[in-house]
Symmetry: C2
Subunit: 361 residues, 2 copies
């Protein structure tokens, strides 16, 4: 499908579904509250010694977010599952005392199901996060959290990604000794509405970035820490919808080799939270601008101050702790991706060679 | 530096150091044996409940190998460290009962040092694997394993990578209830000599792949399971030495979105072990050849049988369990990368913008 195939008023499903993000998060935070209390109580009773997160694709980026948030808020060591150990090598891990969090928009991928089945049989506390509460994964896990994102019709997942992040944050907030995450979560739908408006106002100003990406075959997308998954997710969306080789990196990992790719024809988009992490990312930005890369930033209020060498910045006045900024920062990323795909003459709702549900074993 | 700057007989340091891989592994396996026995005994006494692996860049790919090998051979859940939790967010994890494996060729990166220091202070059993036994990391960790790779002068690490894999395998073999890994390890130096010869004989036959990569700005490098780090590492080497956007993927993750990048102008190199994992990778290869990708394979004896739709294959008659094939399969990958960098007129020994030791916090 090309851009000419978009029906009706010419707005893509992807664009409409980005607009639905605040409402989806509101339904999750408010509508799932009492069930989340129950799941959190069950997890607390299980006293897990270790968390393991299992997912693929976009959901795997929500899993990376879970990996950072669980370890930092709960001091619980957290690992990413390697499904092939279960599905191909048939090597049983020691699942006793594990909290397994399985994330899947469709709840259907056989490898994530197999890991969940093995973990449950091995004594893990299993929690599924899925947008389909009737899916095989929701039934397989002992506990299931529904994303309440509503049907997602664009192949490129947007609102289900942010809803998965919200579900992770809402569960962790209930288990954390620090009440501030829960307090901030209650404000989240309003903050995301503001972010969506700001992203819309920013897009015309980001025209040089759009131009650069439309003519580029390659891009670098960078962040670190809680927003490392934001970089991975926005890079994946560029690949899926625009055929751009956009590689997502932690700014620290970028310095250990891939920085050799930084050059004038490769635009770099960085997600930069305020505070110490922003300062850490700045060092890398200075390095790549010196190498001739054109750099655009999305971040917090600290970006109000003009920065030499930076081609453009979106300063979001998000009143959120850094732990929740991934839910906001990804929105201008999605808005940008959708616009660039259309400008490249591609229909982001139906990328070539992809289908909505991917089944891997 | 460009290719004209290569001194002497025109052979690059990278090429010479690839040739030294079997000798480096032999020194590790034979020379470090009794010290490895002692480290293994100390780990066994600690009864770890969890392993955590900390590294950056090329060493991080050795860490991914460790993650698979430890979990499959020892049934010990294994996580990759997220250094920013320690160095930027100052969130202390629960290190009690953890086996921390820190990998660094130089033993100098401040973030890996900080994680090792925090883990040791928090009660973890800390083991460093480094090529410099006098490095800060070797002194920081309770136990230190030397890679015995000798000085590595090319910026692109090759022999130290394989030596790190060998160190991981040699430690895990001593802790595994299954003696077969240890038995196979003792044969490893001879097998790697044969692999090196086979890779040299293969290179002229791989001329169409060399041509394709010389004119490509983008590549996909794919494998899964124990050889997932092989794909990551060969992709990183293409980035570092040739400026090619080569992205390394698990074949399962490739299907969840990035497969949209498969197209005639994007060569795909896959590392395909024999057995069930090879069969799992075949399904993905069929998908990308149908999308028009040109595909080359490096793998085991099963590649002796001609495959329709495949542009070329190197069948290595490696008499190794799949767990040790990553040490062999990466060698033709390195040989190919070195050749392609030179053909692109670049000096793989001194890539632009990179230095041998990268210090990140």
């Amino acid at each position: 499908m090309t851009i000419e195939d978009i029906p009706g008023d010419g707005r893509t499903l992807m664009s409409r579904e980005i607009d639905e993000i605040p409402a989806a998060v509101s339904r999750l935070v408010r509508g799932e509250a009492s069930h989340l209390d129950d799941v959190a109580a069950a997890v607390r009773r299980a006293h897990p010694r270790l968390a393991v997160v299992a997912a693929r694709g976009t959901s795997d980026h929500a899993a990376v977010y879970a990996r950072y948030l669980i370890e930092s808020e709960l001091r619980l060591p957290t690992a990413m599952a390697a499904p092939s150990l279960t599905t191909v090598y048939h090597r049983s891990s020691d699942w006793a005392g594990v909290l397994l969090l399985s994330l899947s928009q469709s709840g259907a991928s056989p490898d994530i199901l197999a890991v969940t089945e093995a973990a449950r049989a091995g004594g893990a506390t299993t929690v599924a996060i899925t947008n389909d509460p009737t899916s095989p994964l929701a039934r397989m896990a002992e506990h299931s959290i529904a994303c309440h994102a509503g049907p997602e019709r664009a192949v490129a997942a947007t609102k289900t990604y942010v809803a998965e992040l919200a579900a992770v944050a809402a569960l962790v907030a209930r288990l954390s000794p620090d009440p501030s995450l829960g307090v901030a979560l209650s404000r989240l739908p309003e903050v995301l509405e503001e972010t969506l408006s700001a992203a819309g106002r920013w897009l015309p100003l980001a025209e040089p970035l759009v131009d650069a990406a439309v003519s580029a075959d390659r891009m670098l997308v960078v962040s670190r820490g809680y927003n490392f998954p934001t970089a991975l997710e926005v890079a994946l969306k560029f690949k899926e919808t625009s055929g751009i080789f956009a590689e997502g990196y932690s700014s620290a990992d970028l310095m250990h080799g891939p920085v050799a790719l930084a050059q004038p024809r490769v635009p770099l988009l960085a997600f930069r939270p305020d505070g110490p992490m922003g300062a850490a990312i700045d060092g890398v930005i200075e390095h790549v601008t010196a190498a001739g890369s054109r750099v655009w930033l999305v971040g917090g209020r600290e970006l109000d101050v003009p920065r030499p060498g930076i081609n453009g910045a979106l300063s979001l006045a998000v009143d959120l702790p850094e732990t929740l900024t991934p839910l906001a920062f990804v929105i201008p990323g999605f808005v940008l991706v959708e616009c660039i795909a259309r400008r490249r003459g591609m229909n982001p709702d139906a990328p070539a060679g992809l289908s909505k549900v991917t089944l891997t074993m």
